[in-house]
Amino acid sequence: MRSLLLLIPALVCQAQEPSLPAQLAKAQRLTVDDLQTLQARLLADPAPAAQKEYYGLYLGYVLASRDPKAREALLERTVKALEGTRDPARMALLGGCLGLKISLSPMSGISLGPKAMGLFDEALAKSPGDPRIQTLRGVHILHTPAFVGGGADAAIPVLQAAVAAAAKEAAPADPWAPAWGRVESLSWLALAQAKAGKKAEAMATVQQARALDPDNGFLDSMVLPALAETGK
């Protein structure tokens, strides 16, 4: 009976599993294993392909950022699907993918870096209050070398703007509409602050992110180690 009681929370959790779009919106905070599960569930979901498309591409971007072994193949597929897009949300994803491509061949940053920034800037001009575009732009700047205008200090104001935009954004009526960004902008801001040596500010941002998502895997795997590094 005791073992049964121990098992009940897990079963209750399973019964209360959030909807697939809600889980997809948490993609950046999940493990590679969880992302692969979501990928399969998304493929099998009966929703129309056009509705599922954004999150399919988003998963491609997130998985590419997390799985170095599969990065090249995932980016090739995702970039091909995004080529020529004029939709601001997808343009930002494409910018993010180009940023990841630079990690495969740093020399390509000379041409891909400005191209990615061009995509972010145009996407932002088309959709100024979109926290996801601002977050992806901030992430790109964070990973851009400081000598060409990137780095943690340059990324912080961009990510702060993303946090502010995310706080103002209302939940979309369409469950499949892109809805991530509130926790992600805070998480990336905390990482940028940690990398910039702003430990107290980073800790405060971590607390804000934890308040929204206590099980945030990104904070545990990325931000806290960076903070530990800052403290040395």
Partner: protein
């Protein structure tokens, strides 16, 4: 009862396996330790585990890539089974070439075009650094494996670009009119190229401006000789790409004494306008290129010193659509027009020439399964030449009193062709491409047939051996096939290529790649000058040699070495027997070394060494009864210019300022201040020889910046 069911559920791993299309995957084997099962018709599985700890799960199926996942009893596991990557297979190629695509084994990458010292960020100047391209002159024209620049076919966005040079000479020009800022891909194939390309004897250069990422960017270029602006601007569903450049070398010329005086400053301008638009399920690309230049300066040609004036203008336009048809086939339709005008005067000699070429191509590609494809197409060009003026009958004698050849007419030439190419994998390691084409040349009234093929063998990962060969035809230059002042009955020139190439690449640790290639080319029906018929198709020739390219990169350093050995002899033009010609430059060596000094700072140096090109010495002179002196020439091309040596060095700094990204550079061209000789001139009576130094024959400091936003 309920408790037992709950416990069982908690110790059970369930899940669903799907295909990449999201359909259930039945029959997949799911294993977790000793427990194993197969998925049912709905892709579901259920495994009973001994405890509720996470376990590693292995999911596999025939011809699918095995997936390893972590399973947690009580939490449904979902997985996608993707087709297993094919075993390592050879890449089936046509001929042996270099591509600017990142990842290709042998590359002429866009970054290299921009950063190679001395290449002036020019695609064709950069290609001159590749082995197999002789340093016969300092211009951007390509002398490939003993072939003349006119034997290299140049395609831009699928259209045939006939005159791609600024300040054109009879062979080429100092720079190309194609702005690298708009170039996205370059394929340069110096041997045994595809049957898709007709009317080219030696090599092809295929340049593309196709941009798949529609992102707005602007780049301003500010250097001492050249200023330019280029942009990418998405508009609606399309992308506008444009560039404009202006170049005025007068400051450099005067500062460094490259030329003493100008009656007209050497100015060149070019512009490109490119529109890319999704259309009918495919992509439409429109391209316009305009270039013009002029100069007037006092120069010596042979024993005559006078003002040489040159004005030229090129307009090029192409319409290209490519897209899918009939489900699996791909259709490619191209129409281009090239309109060039050149006018020069030198003493009493002058030429004003208009040349127009319209080129078309229709091509269908059909895949037959994953391993085979067939491409068939037709192409053609129609040219019209309208020369007027007067040049020396003997182009080695510029004495104003010597006999002249005059032009005051126009004539047409046309070619139509059809081709078929099959590419297939014979096995994982062996690949073959076979192609053939037929061309009908209107002016010569001749039909030609060519067969070409490339056999590729994957020795092991990263090492490929290729054998390639075939026959190639090209119409004689219009200036020689001219039915009035030339010989309209000239035959179509022919060449055969045979080559063996080894490509090896290593990406772990210090990355390097190596290409070694041996080749043999035989020519016949080359055009020889003739006293009675002006020109005859009785020439022939051969070229054989070895090309070696080794590239490496480790940490902050990268570099490469290119060496080409060439043995070529031709009976052609003013060479009446099988002997040396200006292209007979046996040794060509280029080495580049580049260091990243610290983030944002790069220092690079290029060394170029080449044997001197053959020239025909003047043994004496006789007074011409009509005035002046006529040269007495020694054996054609029996002497060589001094060897060519040049070192260029460049320091580049990248940084960001406000919202702009800057690349600032300073480059010393001809660091050793070596006065390389490009030809010889003479005093009026030919008693004294005067070296004509090459354009970059002084140590020159150039600096500039490009900013992007």
């Amino acid at each position: 009862m309920i408790a037992a069911a709950l416990v069982q559920a908690a110790l059970e791993l369930t899940g669903t396996i799907v295909t990449p299309q999201g359909k259930p995957f039945p029959g997949a084997l799911v294993e977790a330790g000793p427990a194993r099962t197969r998925t049912d018709a709905k892709g579901h599985f259920s495994l009973r585990l001994p405890g509720n700890e996470p376990v590693q799960v292995r999911i596999s199926a025939r011809n699918m890539e095995t997936v390893l996942r972590t399973g947690r009893p009580g939490t449904p596991l979902w997985a996608v089974l993707e087709p297993a990557p094919r075993e390592l297979t050879v890449v089936v190629e046509e001929g042996s070439g270099y591509s600017s695509e990142e990842g290709a084994t042998s590359t002429l990458s866009r970054i290299e075009v921009y950063t190679t010292p001395g290449a002036a960020a020019d695609v064709m100047q950069a290609a001159k650094s590749l082995p197999g391209v002789s340093n016969t002159t300092e211009g951007a024209e390509l002398y490939v494996r003993g072939g003349k620049p006119s034997e290299v076919g140049i395609w831009l966005d699928g259209g045939h670009l006939v005159h791609p040079f600024h300040h054109p000479t009879t062979q080429g020009g100092i720079f190309s009119a194609v702005d690298t800022a708009l170039v996205t891909k370059v394929d340069f194939i110096p041997g045994a190229f595809s049957a898709r390309y007709g009317d080219a004897l030696s090599a092809v250069m295929d340049i593309s401006t196709d941009q798949t990422t529609f992102a707005p960017t602007r780049t301003l270029l500010l250097t001492i000789p050249t200023q330019g602006l280029s942009l990418d601007q998405p508009l609606g569903p399309g992308l506008l790409r444009a560039s404009a450049r202006h170049s005025d070398t007068v400051l450099l010329d005067k500062w460094y004494g490259l030329a003493q005086n100008f009656d007209e400053e050497p100015i060149s301008d070019d512009g490109m306008l490119n529109w890319q638009q999704p259309l009918l399920g495919g992509k439409l690309t429109l391209l316009g290129l305009f270039s013009r230049d002029h100069l007037a300066t006092t120069i010596p040609i042979e024993n005559l010193t006078d003002v040489y004036s040159n004005h030229s203008e090129t307009r090029f336009g192409s319409v290209h659509w490519t897209g899918p048809v009939l489900e699996k086939a791909a259709l490619d339709v191209e129409l281009s027009a090239d309109d060039s005008h050149i006018a020069w005067t030198f003493n009493r000699w002058n030429l004003d020439q208009q040349e127009r070429t319209v080129y078309d191509r229709v091509e269908v590609s059909l895949p037959f399964g994953p391993d085979h494809s067939v491409t068939l197409g037709s192409d053609g060009d129609h040219s019209r030449m309208d020369p007027s003026g007067m040049v020396p009958l003997d182009l080695t004698n510029w004495n104003p009193a010597s006999p002249a050849r005059t032009f005051t007419y126009g004539f047409d030439a046309a070619r139509t062709g059809a081709y078929l190419v099959w590419k297939g994998l014979l096995s994982a390691r062996w690949g073959l491409s076979l192609g053939g084409r037929e061309d009908r040349y209107g002016l010569a009234g001749e039909t030609t047939h060519d067969a070409r093929g490339t056999l590729s063998y994957l020795v092991r990962e990263g090492i490929t051996l290729r054998l390639a060969g075939g026959s190639f035809h090209q119409a004689p230059p219009l200036s020689e096939a001219d039915p009035y002042a030339g010989n309209g009955a000239l035959r179509v020139m022919r060449a055969t290529h045979a080559l063996a190439a080894l490509d090896a690449a290593w990406t772990a640790g210090p990355a390097w790649n190596l290409r070694v290639e041996v080749y043999r080319k035989d020519y016949d029906r080359l055009v020889v000058q003739d006293v009675f018929q002006n020109y005859r198709s009785t020439g022939r020739g051969y070229a054989q040699g070895l090309d070696l390219l080794f590239k490496a990169a480790t940490g902050p350093w990268r570099g490469w070495i290119g060496y080409g050995y060439l043995d070529t002899r031709r009976k052609e033009d003013t060479q009446p027997v099988l002997g040396p010609v200006p292209e007979s430059v046996p040794h060509n060596f280029t080495a580049l070394s580049s260091w990243t000094l610290k983030p944002g700072w790069e220092w690079a140096a290029t060394l170029r060494y080449a044997s001197g090109a053959p020239y025909t010495p003047v043994a004496g002179a006789t007074p011409d009864p009509n005035g002046g002196w006529d040269p007495i020439e020694a054996i054609p091309f029996s002497a060589r210019l001094p060897l060519y040596l040049r070192v260029d060095s460049r320091l580049t700094h990248q940084f960001a300022w406000r919202a702009t990204r800057w690349v600032v550079f300073a480059e010393v061209m001809n660091l050793l201040d070596r006065h390389n000789v490009s030809s010889y001139a003479y005093t009026p009576d030919f008693t004294t020889r005067i070296p004509n130094e090459s354009y970059f024959s002084r140590r020159i400091l150039v600096a500039g910046a490009s900013l992007q936003w």
